[in-house]
């Protein structure tokens, strides 16, 4: 499902990621952990081409990112649902429209959008907030909206970049529970976090990143 082959990324001669190689199988939930500045966010950004790798290749489903043409990038992004650390919600439209946006981009019919968005909001337990605007929501609620938007179009992979970074411990546990429920339903999920509490005792695969290198792998 996800293959990293000797991927490296540099910023101004500074190595951010060096020879990263790993594979994530379909339906797997994998955590990437490490201290701040380890390269976790960059690693995720490479997967939806917010950043381009300088060396190596990344394969996501049928997309080979090293040889991907510019016109194909939107289609890659449609197959990857991203839970952004800073939410990236549009404040001028409602929760419903924020979630629906990812479907409208794909040209899904309005009649179907209503049901899909409703189901996505139900999965993250915020269907009652459908008509609210993002600015009126708490951090935890906004993060749920982002998850709903990421899962609505049923992408191949869900990437979560510090999904609990701005949340209190109780809300964090809630969010991780939602992601686990999605994984139980078959979603392939990659979560970048520095919070070890999120995977402790779960038995999930954890990749340890430090200084741009994978320094170890363990079961959470």
């Amino acid at each position: 499902m996800i293959i990293f082959q000797n991927v490296s990324k540099y910023y101004d001669n500074q190595t951010v990621l060096k020879n990263i190689t790993f594979t994530v199988q379909k339906g797997e939930i994998t955590f990437i952990t490490g201290p701040s500045g380890a390269g976790k966010s960059t690693l995720l950004k490479l997967m939806y081409l917010a950043e381009s790798p300088d060396e190596g290749d990344i394969v996501i489903g049928d997309f080979h990112l090293a040889s991907l043409k510019e016109a194909q990038i939107p289609y890659l992004r449609r197959s990857v649902g991203v839970v952004f650390q800073d939410f990236k919600l549009i404040n001028s439209i409602t929760v419903f429209d924020n979630v629906a946006l990812s479907l409208r981009i794909r040209g899904v019919k309005e009649r179907e959008i209503r049901d899909i968005v409703s189901n996505a909001l139900k999965k993250v337990h915020i269907r009652h907030l459908s008509d609210s605007y993002p600015t009126s929501l708490s951090g935890g609620e906004q993060q749920r909206v982002v998850i709903a938007r990421a899962i609505a179009a049923e992408p191949l992979v869900i990437l979560a970049d510090e999904p609990t970074g701005n949340l209190d411990p109780n809300t964090s546990i809630d969010i991780i529970r939602v992601l686990r429920e999605l994984n139980a339903q078959g979603a392939t999920i990659l979560i970048a976090t520095h919070n070890r509490e999120l995977f402790r005792g779960t038995g999930n695969r954890v990749l340890k990143l430090d200084g741009g290198n994978i320094v170890g792998e363990e079961a959470g």
Binding site: Y48, Y75, R77, K88, L89, L101, R104, G107
Partner: protein
Amino acid sequence: MTFSYSFKSAFKSLCREKWINLLSILTVASSLLIITLTAFFLYNIEIIANSLPERFSIVAYLKDDLSSEETQAVIDTIKRRADIAGLKYISKEDAIKELQHTLKDTGYILEGLTENPLSSSIEIKLKKDFVTPSSAKHVAGEIKKTAGIDEVYYGEKIADAIHLLRRSMQNMSVIIFLTISSGVIFVTYSTVKILFYRRKQEIEIIKLLGATKGFLRMPFLIEGGSIGFFGGLIGIIGAMLFYLAVTYRLSMVIPMLKTLLFPFEILVVLPLIGIMFGIIGSLIAIGRLKL
């Protein structure tokens, strides 16, 4: 469905950024109004210019000693020409009568004449396309060579004036149209560029969700087209107010203005021209932006 989203998005942006959009619409409306008024004046000048060739004629004077058969032969020869719209034979007798009629009270001047000094003539009307200085000269020269023709006269200055008026009108309309069009396109270009930068954050999010360039551009094209369309509508209102003011108010002072005609066809076309300019401006704006 993508279209419906794009229309909604464009409409929302029109409302949200109402002041900048309103300003652009009014600027476009003023520009289109100038185009309409130019068309109005040119339309009326064209009508006048079109009526001038009808008044233009070549007069061919016949030799005095022609028999009626020879006269008819000359008329038939001239009639066969492709550049002739029509002709009228004026006999010596008709010519003197017409002169007497023209002179009216001063007709006594002719009383001392013992014989009619005037010649028979043929008044020739050219087809509209041949009323140019070069064509009129060419036709007059050829008619002069016809057997039985003594002298040919044509209003060289009239032909020159008509030609000059036509050419000036065409050049002027092209210059005005190009200048104003460029202005309208620049206004929509600038507006769409500003609107794009105001929505840059939103566009970045939509891009990350997998939007194609077409999806991102469509609302801006619609918004540019809408600015042009509403500009066109307001332009129509302005043009109608102008026309009513000219025909009802000003014509009381200058009665001649009542004869002016308005090219109503342009009122239908105006919003379409606005849409076209708006879309062109938007296309240039978003084509130059990095999406």
